[in-house]
Amino acid sequence: MFQQIANDPLHQFQVNTILPLKLGSWDISFTNASLWMVIAVLGVSLFLTLGIQRRALVPRRWQLMVEMAYEFVANTVRSNAGEEGMRFFPLVFTLFMFVLFCNLFGMIPYSFTVTSHIIVTFAMAMFVFLTVILVGLMRHGLRFFKLFVPSGVPSWILPLIVPIELISFLSRPVSLSVRLFANMLAGHTMLKVFAGFVVSMMAAGGVFSVMSIGPMLGIVFVTGLEFLVAFLQAYVFAVLTCIYLNDAIHLHEDH
């Protein structure tokens, strides 16, 4: 395993079956991806429940981290989707914490980054997308489709604007999922490619082994950057979820 990761920067994204399972003709095997999703869920649950056990008035570090996570997401929801959007706080908080923990657990060497697989991010993006449509239809009925008709546009231009707005709306789950997946995939690949440089330059010997300090420093820098990306992408996912929910809740009311 270690050998393969050193030689192939894409090996880290391979999905391996741990426990083969079948439901009819469907393959529902428990894979390393499933394992790391379970680990992420357990990690979030333990982080939150153990962190607030003391319930101190003046929090210690761990409780402070939990409260900051809560406040952070709550502020994001309030400022992007309004007070009414707080009804969807559990959804946004769950998505944020899950994505964040998947990204962060992916930073552990030899672990598996669940969010570097587009099927995972696309499933979450589709979930958000369908929730927005459902909420919009439930709150506004067919008036929800006025979302595609910007107010104050001359009617002769509508045949052009409505399809464009529709395509823009339909492209949301694509850009939402591709953004997260591409960032994680690119970052982790880059880390392993740099690591491969270090190994092969060391092996080449002579001047090269001295020069291998370059990619080594590169790895240190990119690792720091990847931690930033891990947080940022979870945040961006949460912010966009809020903005999309805001569309469903408020339509054009507060432009």
């Binding site: 008035l57 400022s79 823009s168 492209s171 694509v174 850009s175 507060d254």
Partner: protein
Amino acid sequence: MVSGPSDQGNGQGNDPHAPLDALGKRIDAMENRPSVVAPKVKARSAEDSSAFGRAFKLSTEFVAAVAIGGGMGYLGDRVFGSGPVLFLVFFVLGVGAGFLNVWRAAQLINARAAELAKEASADQGLDFTCDDDDGDDDGRPKGRAGRP
């Protein structure tokens, strides 16, 4: 939440403000340290906004819309057997939607940058700043700054 009688281990619980007083003393002690915090915060927030901008790959926004538009046209052509007409029309509409996406994302990034700049200037007024990365901008009027 804070119903427990002995939160900080002061068993009698005779003074509910004891933990807060202790915290106040610690903050006072920290404030009297000669370290400078504010300029660091300002530099960090500028960094944050550029990172936020980079987190949005604007190319993704564009390509996603073009792909969806092209895909819709292609499927329409398959259903109606109308040659490449719908594909071409929807491809162009997809490009339009792509520009719309990019413009909206750029607006969002700008709004976020303005928000951070405001926070940074507000922070400068204080002599002690908490590391509130959570954008705890309670002073903001109505919020919704990030709405495209």
